[in-house]
Structures are given as C-alpha cells and as structure tokens.
Subunit: 160 residues, 2 copies
Amino acid sequence: MTMLAISPLTAAAFAPFGDVLQVQAAPSVMINRGNCARYSDLAGLDFSDGRAGISVFHAKPYRSPLLLDMMERHPQGSQAFIPMSDDPFLVIVAPDNDGKPGLPQVFETDGLQGVNYHRNVWHGVLTPIRGNGLFTVVDRIGSGSNLEEHWLDSAYQILF
Amino acid sequence: MTMLAISPLTAAAFAPFGDVLQVQAAPSVMINRGNCARYSDLAGLDFSDGRAGISVFHAKPYRSPLLLDMMERHPQGSQAFIPMSDDPFLVIVAPDNDGKPGLPQVFETDGLQGVNYHRNVWHGVLTPIRGNGLFTVVDRIGSGSNLEEHWLDSAYQILF
C-alpha cells in the first residue's frame, strides 16, 4: 500500500486548498486597550445559495496507521474546522483530477491552527489524532445535496 | 466596589444573550462512518448588511481581581468566540436598560464551550483567565460603525 508522508501545515503549502486560521505576522488591529490582537477575515467563505452556520463536531481520535480510502468535497460551500483544544490534527487534501481526487497531501497542524477548505476542494474526513476531538465548524446551512464522496481505487496508509 | 459572582455557563442561563456552542444532548447526525457526532447550526447569526468572516483573536489572560468598567455591543452583528484550547474563560453580559447595560452577569465556561453573542447584546471584552488566549471569532465583516462602548458609572470587581 502506498504510504503518504506528513508535512507541517503552512499557509503557503495549503493555499491551493484553503486557508490556515492562525496568528499572522502582524495584527489587523490591537483592541481591548492593547490586550488583544485581532487578525481579521482570514477565510475565503462561500456558501452559494445557503447561509453560514456554526456547528460543533465531536470526533474520536484516530490511531496510526490511518487508512485513507475515501475523500469528499462540498460543491456548495466552504467548510472551516476550528479545534477547541490545542492538540494537533491531520489535514488531508487533494487537487482535483478530472472530477476525482489526485495525489493526496497530508498536513499536521501545530496545535494552534484551524483550517478552512475552499468550496469543492477534495479533503479527508475530520482527523483528530489525540485530545478531546472537539471542533467548531463553520459551513453552509442550506437545502440540496452538498456532499460528494469518492472511494479511492487504491487506499493509502498514513503513519503518525 | 460591588462584587459580581461567577456562575457556570449554561445554555438556559445564557439564552437571553446568545448561544452556547457545545455538544448537545443528541447529535443532529452521525457522520464519518460513525466516528463523528455533528451538532448542527447552533448559533443565531446576523450580520445585517455585512457578511460572515472568520478572524483569530489572541488575548493575554487576565488576572484576578478583574475590574469591569466598560461594556460594549455590536449594533450590526452577532459575534461568536470559539476557544482554541480547552481552558475556561469568563463571559460577561448584561441586559439592555434604556440604551445602557443593566446589571452584568458573569459566567465561566467549562473549557469545552464557545459562545455566540446575539446582535446588539451588551458584553465585556474577551476575557481568558488562563491558557494560550487564542480564539477564533465569527463576526460581521462590513463597512460602517459596529461598536458601541459604554463606560460604567461604577465599576464592578470580579474575583476568580
């Protein structure tokens, strides 16, 4: 089985797929009498004919080795995952290749990062690897189908 | 100086002011082959003529005793705070009393909760009390003034 290596999550490497929600080089503004740095409007949000909603996801952490046999995308909206702990999680994405996921890329967050998948970007399911598995999600609330799943011809293995 | 007591944050107690973002009694749906519970659409979002944005706030934790001498509200939009750690923080709100904040109420989260202030609800500034002070914020991105500050005639003290 083909193994996939894990890279640290950086904004530059993740740019083709979405946004990294993290502290930036300089704040947009200092607020609250200098006690708080605000880094504004970090995500490319797109909910098509729906609207933004805030949901909570509670996932069980996965154990190594992880088998990646399916990827999914949301044709109608972006989807942001914000960890409610300082535990790293895996972020798995792939470029589109004629309507199917191409070679997946695997990133690991540093514990202080969230992600926003752009609309219609192939990604793996939410993959905490330790901690409480709690995430807040900002995605599209609306009618109609917004989930496309693709089962891979050959599964990949990820060790962590 | 008048002291304010701290109560545990519950959805019922917080309902007049906004939403508690937390795991609910039953999931809206189980996803990811049973590995993840999704609790959908927990927040009353309202961005008036603006749009939803995701920002990161990085605040220094406050130390006891806390002096509450100002409260603020956002006439044009709701504002959600999602802690990116499992550390409790204080949530300070007040009913409106003829255009000014009434008696403030102070809640402490259990470390697994976020909050969404409804549009135009009086609240204190973001108040982490320990941990990394990192929060993701979902609020209105748009033009025009969206901040009203009210300096209290008499400050309150909060011990934690």
